[in-house]
Amino acid sequence: MNKASYSSLVWALMRRDLSVAMRRKSDSINPLLFVLMVVTLFPIAVGPSHEVLGRIAAGVIWVVALLASLLGSERLFRDDYVDGTLEQMVLSPAPLELLALAKIAVHWLLSGLPLVILSPFCALLLKLPLDGWLTLVLTLLLGTPMLSAMTAIGAALTVSLGRGGALLSLLLLPLFIPLLIFATAAVESTLLGMPAIGQLMFLAGFMVLTLTLAPVAVAAAIKVSVN
């Protein structure tokens, strides 16, 4: 196999996962619905005043984003494991890391990207001051690929455990915390009129690091799980 066929394999795998997702839409719509529900319930619960909502908006959106990414994350490799595709991926002439990257990319397209697109709407509902919108979208744009990559590591580790859902959440949440701190700090700085470039740079660095190492970790975890 040469490089051209590797890239066509990656495209084929992404197209396959996307068309599977298109045929079971509820799986990808569910987390987004969860985000929207929480974001609409918050103003009702804490009252619609600008001061309170505007201050907690970024935090709420980010916490919801983290929890939404855990919803259904155990399904990431489950179907492939159950029907035997994961075995074939291990045995495929193409490097498993590349296939893992394709799975991460599809997961981001289905869960992270819609969240980024939805975030201005959430910011509107939670009355986040307009100055913070761009920073919020940027933090989500940099942060959600990380969420997908780390979720993939956890999902690959727990795929053979049958019901690994609770374990998966316990494994992943501590890893999400630095992301949460930097992302909300970035929005906070902008709202205080300070530059948020430092935090954004940190997020970008984390993202590059995670996306570089995650495929290797996922591939290793899949090999263990298939045994």
Partner: protein, 215 residues
């Protein structure tokens, strides 16, 4: 004939039971190896071990010994493994499944419609696999055999859920593959109606319990 597989003193212990011990085998191009044994004897374990999905607890296993030094990934291209999980996506149609299978195998399907006709799925190509019968899903998985250029096939219960015509068809494909210098390792509870020229039988006996022996 070229040596494709050589294994010496393979041992597998699962959950305290010795499934097989000190198993040695050799497979050349043109050989067919029929692994026999009762349920739970460790046939699938042996096949998964030979395919590189399970590490051997002891012993040595080498696939394609002539090539393993100059091209460490050679065996991945020359091995085709179909386990009892068929790797057929339930949401996708037969045609889509064939395409992704071929991509994963690194094979090129010149004419997918021809392939569908060969395995008897023409006319069902746009129905999601979950609505097809077990035998038809099996045919989607086995269609890989017609697209594949791999030398070594490892097939776990390939005849499961197939009808008489399907079994006949599969054995014709086996014969063509062996004729072309390929080799097959398979498990099956039924006797092969086709007599391959170089047939080896390996029987794995019922396991002995070592978990209960205390010193």
């Amino acid at each position: 004939m070229t040596l494709l597989v050589t294994a010496q003193h393979l041992t597998s212990i699962r959950a305290g039971r010795v499934l097989f011990a000190d198993l040695s085998l050799q497979l050349h191009g043109g050989d067919v190896m029929h692994v026999e044994g009762p349920n739970g004897a460790g046939k699938s374990t042996l096949l998964r071990m030979l395919a590189g999905l399970l590490p051997a607890q002891s012993g040595q296993l080498m696939l394609f010994p002539e090539h393993c030094h100059d091209d460490p990934d050679y065996w991945r291209r020359q091995l085709l493994f179909i386990g009892h999980k068929a790797a057929v996506k339930a949401e996708l149609t037969a045609l889509e499944n064939l395409a992704i299978q071929a991509q994963l195998d690194g094979a090129v399907i010149a004419d997918p419609w021809q392939l569908l006709e060969t395995v008897g799925l023409l006319g069902l190509e746009d129905i999601p696999a979950q609505q097809l019968s077990a035998g038809q899903q099996r045919r989607i998985a086995l269609a890989r055999l017609w697209a594949s250029h791999a030398q070594l096939w490892i097939l776990d219960e390939p005849f499961t859920a197939l009808d008489v015509r399907g079994i006949e068809l599969l054995q014709q494909r086996f014969a063509a593959h062996v004729q072309g210098g390929g080799a097959i390792i398979l498990t099956s509870h039924q006797r092969l109606s086709w007599q391959p020229p170089q047939l080896q039988r390996i029987a794995i006996h019922s396991p002995t319990d070592t978990g209960l022996q205390y010193e």
